[in-house]
């Protein structure tokens, strides 16, 4: 009797969110995937009947180039975000509690202004008559004729800008728990500071780095606003294509197939990371078990 009531309570607490997400997340996902196997009807709808035509047409050379560019820019964005976040997280974690809260707040504050507006501000910044162009050309880094806006470089800069707080935060959270006396111990034993940073600090914040990678890479893959506002015609990403096929072209099967492709681009690295982490955990558990059993048998002997 107690078991039944317990089960009822579990179901009662679980069902609201369970049903909502099943209906508005799982069902739509299934629909998208199934639409990709239909043909488009001329009126912008979906023609009945199963076909692989859509998949064949997205294998034309145009699309792989876009997919490749998307993955490449996302990977670069992730790389720069993590590289910049590591020293930042280290610096914040070494501050006093009061400073930490203040600096962490400063990093998150831009996040509270509209994303669209921030991207738009970058467009102004990168404008040919804008501040950056003037600054960089006056100190002779770039030629006056080079355009900062509307290319892959602009997408990369704005992406790093947009996702940087999401990389700093998890690494900082891990760094905050890191025992900094380990670094001192390493220095004490003669390690050079960069060596200690790489060999002690980096493994210590490993988990933070992994979640930073995911927090940046995933939204970067599906990015639409940034390439749309600061990218050029020759730097389209997969997000722009999905939009184009959905609205101006009204080719829903095509859009669905592209969405499926994006999902693969996200899930593949995600799966790899999950597998790698699981293996690491297992290794660690095994090492621990071995060490323990060795100690026990050693103690008995």
């Amino acid at each position: 009797m107690v078991g039944v009531r317990n089960k009822l309570r579990e179901v009662g607490l679980t069902m609201p969110s369970f049903l909502w997400l099943s209906f508005f997340f799982v069902v739509p996902t299934v629909i998208v995937l199934s639409i990709a196997f239909h043909a488009a009807s001329p009126d912008g709808g979906i023609a009945p009947g199963f076909t692989l035509a859509t998949w064949r047409s997205i294998s034309n050379p145009n699309y792989p180039a876009i997919v490749w560019r998307t993955i490449w820019i996302s990977a670069l964005t992730t790389f720069f975000c993590v590289i910049l976040s590591l020293p930042c997280a280290y610096a914040i974690a070494r501050m006093t509690t009061k400073w930490r809260a203040a600096v962490a707040g400063l990093i998150m504050l831009p996040f509270w202004t509209s994303f669209i507006v921030r991207v738009f501000a970058w467009r102004t910044l990168l404008n040919p008559e804008g501040f950056l162009q003037g600054l960089l050309s006056s100190i002779g880094i770039i030629d006056q004729s080079v355009s900062l806006n509307y290319n892959s470089g602009a997408i990369l800069v704005v992406s790093v800008y947009s996702f940087l707080p999401f990389a700093i935060m998890p690494i900082y959270a891990a760094a905050e728990k890191f025992d900094f006396s380990l670094l001192e111990a390493a220095r004490d034993l003669g390690a050079r500071s960069f060596f200690a940073f790489r060999k002690i600090f980096l493994p210590g914040v490993r988990r933070g780095v992994i979640s930073a990678v995911l927090m940046v890479f995933i939204p970067a893959i599906g990015s639409y606003v940034i390439p749309d506002l600061v990218g050029g015609t020759d730097s389209e990403l997969i997000g722009n294509k999905i939009y184009q096929r959905t609205f101006p072209d009204r080719n829903l099967p095509h859009a669905s197939a592209l969405a499926g492709l994006t999902a693969v681009a996200v899930l593949l690295p995600l799966g790899c990371v999950a597998w790698w982490m699981k293996r690491q955990d297992e290794r660690e558990a095994k090492r621990l078990a071995e060490a323990t059993s060795r100690r026990i048998s050693g103690g008995a002997a």
């Binding site: 607490l13 679980t14 969110s17 369970f18 909502w20 997400l21 099943s22 508005f24 997340f25 799982v26 739509p28 996902t29 629909i31 639409i35 979906i46 020293p87 930042c88 280290y90 610096a91 914040i92 600096v103 707040g105 400063l106 990093i107 504050l109 831009p110 509270w112 202004t113 509209s114 994303f115 669209i116 507006v117 921030r118 738009f120 501000a121 467009r123 102004t124 910044l125 404008n127 008559e129 804008g130 800008y161 940087l164 707080p165 940073f197 995911l214 995933i218 939204p219 599906g222 990015s223 639409y224 606003v225 939009y243 959905t246 829903l252 669905s256 969405a259 994006t262 999902a263 996200v266």
Partner: protein
């Protein structure tokens, strides 16, 4: 120590990088030049224009955004809290699937959620509009609220609810007088997150919006794309930035101020 100095320099540069566009934005909101390229003198014109009847649409869309965010926050807080409680309390197969359902939306790019919801609404012939936007927002907010509340629940000591039962309280009394007050900071944090995400969401809303249902980000986007009113956007953003800072500041002060009750509340 040299290491630390190097890191602090990088941190300072990163902060400059993060605030650069915001300074440009605030500066340009007072810049008389229409395209913000160079400084053409100080002006309040754009703030005046923002409140002129010509730009009524901006405020309409702002109100719509607030409405959507408010509803999405309340609903996702309820669904997220129940979900977190179920996930925390039970560990069976149902909860494994449940956790998958909650977790996956967090790792799926927004654009995919946008397009799949659009396709579903299209195939069910549900007209897109405010309702579909609200549904979409609730869908992506649930996961964030659940995760925030779950984090709070994991620090929660089950002995405390046991103590309540032990002293004679029933399940509902315990929930409303003991559990909920303890979870409240988590729920509020989750709700704040949901509200921010909802009010700032562009991509998903962009896909599921319908005629006359533009939220503020959509309105701003169409102004960027189609009209020549950029400085007005700057002034609006500056006002929102100031409001946000005030809100954050006030909430900090409130949070730091411990209630000091000298009167007996129980009579």
């Amino acid at each position: 120590m040299k290491k630390s100095a190097f890191c602090i320099v990088i941190l300072a540069l990163v902060l400059v990088f993060l605030y650069l566009p915001i300074f440009v934005l605030v500066g340009n909101s007072f810049n008389a030049a229409k395209f913000g390229g160079e400084w053409a003198g100080f002006t309040f014109d754009w703030y005046a224009a923002l409140f002129s009847p010509r730009n009524r649409e901006i405020w309409m869309s702002f109100k719509r955004s607030l409405l959507v965010a408010a509803i999405a926050t309340v609903v996702s807080c309820v669904l997220g809290t129940t979900a977190a409680m179920a996930l925390n309390k039970w560990k069976g197969r149902l909860q494994t699937v449940h956790f998958g359902l909650i977790y996956t939306p967090l790792v799926v790019p927004e654009i995919l959620m946008g397009i799949s919801l659009l396709m579903m609404f299209a195939s069910l012939k549900i007209p897109c509009g405010l309702l579909t936007i609200i549904i979409a927002h609730i869908t992506f907010c649930i996961s964030y609220v659940t995760m925030t509340v779950l984090a709070r629940l994991q620090d929660f000591d089950d002995r405390i609810t046991e103590a309540a039962y032990d002293l004679g309280a029933g399940g509902l009394y315990t929930f409303f007088h003991v559990t909920l007050p303890i979870l409240m900071p988590g729920i509020v944090a989750g709700g704040l997150l949901a509200f921010t995400l909802s009010i700032d969401d562009f991509v998903i809303t962009f896909f599921v919006t319908g005629p006359g249902a533009d939220t503020l980000p959509l309105k701003i986007y169409s102004m960027i794309k189609h009209s020549r009113q950029m400085p007005v956007i700057n002034s609006l953003s500056t006002i929102m930035l100031v409001l946000t800072c005030l809100l954050v500041g006030v909430s900090r002060i409130v949070a730091n101020h411990r209630p000091h009750r000298h009167l007996k509340t129980t009579k």
